[in-house]
């Protein structure tokens, strides 16, 4: 089992507990173990942080998904970290991946110019934060949907001649051949093999003779979109094995790795041309391409795909609020909250300094009329216009205190210190919490005269409960100044709000007061900074970090720390890392 990243802490003792947990997360661990937690020395021997919290060994066999130890992080109490040497490249295996539904939408947008990227695919099973880490298998239902979408998109091509670049027909065989080669090269991220071209040509010709040239083009497009070479990303690497069983990622594989990381989509012709010309291998060449690609609008929308999943904004889409408690909440306000955070993240990353600290503490945000009313600031006179405003610095600071986050991580009729605290602990500190055990006691109904905080505190006051909830509640209580839709409040259930919080089991331990102070502490935390890199790593690799990733991850975290937490540069660093440039077969 994973431990908290506290290499020298003699804190973790397996023990079996009875009932003791509340709504979302479990209490596993002992009060002594938490009490013994020192301020962490995360940077003393810098190593990737992917640690879990608590021993999680209620039954000894409840392994968390895909968690492996990374070198340098001790899992034994009292054992110091082993410094990493990193003298030779080492990377984990690269299993074949299937396009995520998001990537599929972007890919057909880029291939066919369709504007709507939304496809009604059966959602993948996704136990982790990111869609890139979801299950990859193709059920019969999903295969049906792939065939439906492929044939519908092909059927929906409004003007075949425009797509092909000529009027396809016997007289234009060269033109058609040029189109099919180019289209397939983009879709498959490499030139067609002779066999593939033979098969596709046969399909085109037989369809043309059975129907006509337009239909033949449609049949070609549908076939390519249903091909496993489009839907999957098989890799083989190139050249001789080095450093044991590593091989260099082949140029076309690098092109696809670049484009799926930076655009969540297919490479463009420029990138494929570079791969074909052999000018896509050196760090300088990769960097130049990455910098070109980052200027493309696709980089903005693709990276927001990461941020919205890291922040967990999806949950707001399905959040329903009690109209009696929050009469101002509507689908319109929900949409405005999401739009605010989208604009904010976009601005920080692409217009401002791209610093993680700015994401966490920037004093400004973007509001329409309804949001201005929620934040009690001057804003536009309608809901379609969003303007940049500075919010009250005593109340708001960065993304953590935006209405989207606060509304998503709340109940339908109250705030939820537990949901918010868990959000910070798992998403910002990369610390996993064990699942709740059976026998969870019941939380009292909301009641006038008892604040939400008191209600939760009563519920977790038993020593076994508080041992675990110390990790959560101290982070969530500091956000009690915001109600269930993110409005600032000083009174809750008729009682003055107590927004004092405390952080434990981190490198920024201590007491604080309210959201802005919490945001400042997170922004100053090396653990949070490392965690941001870890989250990008997981998103980009589609898996959790493994032992063999330690050196790549350490180098990325060191660079990120060295440049003050620049989230744009992190992307360029990622594509230069060993994990990115080497291929290791999964067998």
């Amino acid at each position: 089992m994973k431990q908290l990243e506290v290499a020298t802490a003699p804190w973790s003792r397996p023990l079996t507990l009875g009932a003791c947990a509340l709504t979302l997360v479990a209490c596993v661990g002992s009060i002594e173990s938490i009490a013994e937690l020192p301020g962490t020395e995360a940077r003393s021997a810098k190593a990737p942080s992917s640690a879990g919290v608590g021993d999680g060994t209620e039954t000894g066999d409840r392994a968390e998904p895909g968690k492996k130890t990374v070198p340098g992080v001790s899992t034994e109490p009292g054992v110091a970290k082993t410094p990493l040497l990193c003298t030779t490249p080492e990377v984990s295996t690269s299993p074949m991946r299937r396009l995520t539904h998001r990537e599929f939408g972007n890919a057909v947008r880029d291939l066919l110019g369709t504007t709507s990227a939304e496809r009604a695919f059966a959602p993948d099973t996704q136990p982790e934060l990111f869609d890139t880490m979801a299950s990859q298998g193709v059920s019969s239902l999903l295969a049906d949907q792939y065939l439906d979408v492929a044939s519908e998109l092909a059927q929906g091509i409004s003007n075949v001649s425009t797509l092909v670049g000529c009027t396809p027909g016997p007289a234009d065989a060269t033109c058609v051949r040029t189109f099919t080669d180019r289209f397939a090269r983009r879709a498959y991220r490499r030139p067609l093999t002779t066999d593939e071209r033979t098969r596709l040509t046969a399909l085109y010709e037989s369809t043309r003779s059975a129907a006509n040239a337009d239909t033949a083009v449609r049949a070609f497009v549908a076939a390519v979109l249903a091909s496993p070479h489009f839907l999957f990303r098989p890799e083989w690497g190139t050249g001789q094995a080095e450093f044991g069983d590593l091989r260099r990622a082949a140029p076309f594989e690098l092109a696809a790795r670049l484009s799926f990381l930076l655009w969540s989509s297919l490479p463009d012709d420029t990138l494929l041309d570079a791969a074909q010309a052999g000018t896509l291998s050196t760090p300088a060449q990769l960097t130049a391409q990455a910098q070109r690609m980052l200027l493309d609008p696709r980089a903005r929308s693709a990276s927001f795909g990461f941020y919205e999943q890291w922040l967990g904004l999806d949950l707001l889409h399905s959040s329903t609020k009690d109209k009696a408690v929050y009469p101002s909440f509507s689908d319109g306000l929900r949409g405005a909250m999401l739009e605010e955070t989208r604009r904010f993240v976009d601005h920080v990353i692409w217009e401002d300094d791209a610093k993680l600290a700015s994401l966490l503490t920037a004093p400004y945000s973007f509001v329409n009329k309804s949001l201005a009313a929620l934040y009690k600031v001057q804003g536009p006179s309608d809901d379609t216009t969003f303007t940049q405003v500075n919010l009250d610095a005593n109340q708001r600071s960065g993304v953590l205190t935006q209405a989207s986050m606060l509304a998503a991580y709340a109940s339908s009729d109250t705030s939820s210190p537990v949901k918010r605290g868990k959000w910070v602990r798992t998403r910002m500190f990369c610390q996993d919490l064990p699942p709740p055990p059976a026998g969870i006691p019941v939380l009292a109904e909301p009641e006038e005269g008892i604040s939400t905080r008191e209600r939760f505190a009563m519920h977790t006051s038993a020593p076994q409960c508080s041992s675990c909830h110390k990790l959560i509640d101290g982070l969530g209580f500091g956000l009690e100044s915001y109600d269930g839709i993110g409005a600032f409040r000083t009174i809750d259930q008729g009682v003055p709000v107590d927004a004092s919080g405390s952080i434990v089991a981190s490198d920024v331990n201590g007491a604080y007061e309210g959201g802005p102070e919490l945001a400042q502490l997170l922004a100053s935390s090396a653990q949070v900074r490392d965690c941001a890199v870890t989250q990008w790593f997981r998103f980009s690799q589609g898996r959790r970090e493994q032992d063999e990733d330690a050196c790549s991850l350490q180098a990325l975290q060191a660079s990120f720390s060295g440049n003050g937490g620049d989230l744009q540069t992190l992307l360029v660093d990622l594509i230069k890392s060993d994990t990115f440039t080497f291929y290791r077969s999964p067998g």
């Binding site: 998904p65 074949m96 099973t125 295969a143 949950l315 969870i440």
Partner: protein, 431 residues
Amino acid sequence: MDPRFMLSRRALLAGLGGLAGAALLPGGVRRAQAAAPTRFVVMHVPEGMWNTAQRPAAGSTQLGPILQALQPHQSRINVLLNLDIKSRDHGPGGDGHHRGVVHMLTGTEQKDANTAGGASVDQKIAQKIGAGLPYASLQFATRIVYGDTNSRPIWSGPGTVMPAMQSPFDAYKRIFAAAPAASTPVSTPKVDLRKSALDYALAESAALRTRLGTTDRALLDSYQESLRDIERRLASLPVDTEAGCSRPNLGAAIDVKAEANYPTIGRLQMDMLVASLQCNLTRVASLQWGNSNDQCTYSFLGVNTLGHDLSHNTNNCDNDGSKKLKVMRWYAEQTKYLLDKLAAIPEGGGSMLDNTVVLWVSEFSDSGAHACNKLMWLMMGNAGGYFKTGRVMDCNGRSVNDLHTSLCNAFGIADKTFGNAAYCGGALPLT
């Protein structure tokens, strides 16, 4: 461009079906024997089925406050009290929701932290009775707002989930538009793009497969096997039948993700499910109501509290007026709708309900405590006379595996255990 090709046969049929809801569909599979086929349906409801005095008492013929809506069908229902998911504390996995959902129909330890260790009982039955039908089974769901393992009860084998169709409108396109009648006068396109794409994808998969290592090959195989499944289905179409069946009339498409539409989507999915059985397109189906970690606030009932929070925040299920009770009674009403539909379809000397078993499950009793024991599950219908019904039975902590063994036996699988035999004590005395 051939104008006839612009409107595919699929689109035409979908259009016809949408316009003429009651149009007879002469599709379906010719019945090999005179006896009506038996069918199995499993329905999953989130956040538990209680452990209170509101349950019917063992031996009673009164179904009690929670299940009141089902009283008219009492003689065709068995209420099974105090079943236990005995495997849930063993092997890898997450919290009670997670483990309960994955274990309750598979009866064995998970393969890994996120996937089941074996086939769920409906899939085991589908593998027995589904051969030769267009679909061995069909999965329907209403409003799964996120797709973690908590919302995955149906598994065709270790590690292989069967995701559900969340939109009845998409389901209609998939199931009914793909079941054209031989006699329907549609203009057949000269080229079926979907079919040629299928053939091409199969050919490329075969070529790619030889170049992949074991790990990558397993992923490709999931696609290849699914494509072959579709190929087999297309080969079985168009089909012929003696009896007609009605296409469901879904009306205009509505937002399947909006909470306000939850009841409507649920009913449309039940319409789809029953029509699929009636048209003999499948004999095994499932219906999943929402996420196991219930993300519905039941605003349409005036409840306005997230189902998941409701479970953890209240302990007043004994109170007739409680929100939780309201929600549970509502699910019983929805179940009545399903039973009414099945009972209204004459079959042999009785109705389709008589030839079906509808199993109503939830992974919890008291969901607030994440308790996977003391479960109350219902089985409705008697599989063509196989089961005796009309009883409220105390199962006294017997394993759900034993119920699954009974169900397997009813559908011609002679096994004495189900799932992990360590959690089995033999079939339940239900016959």
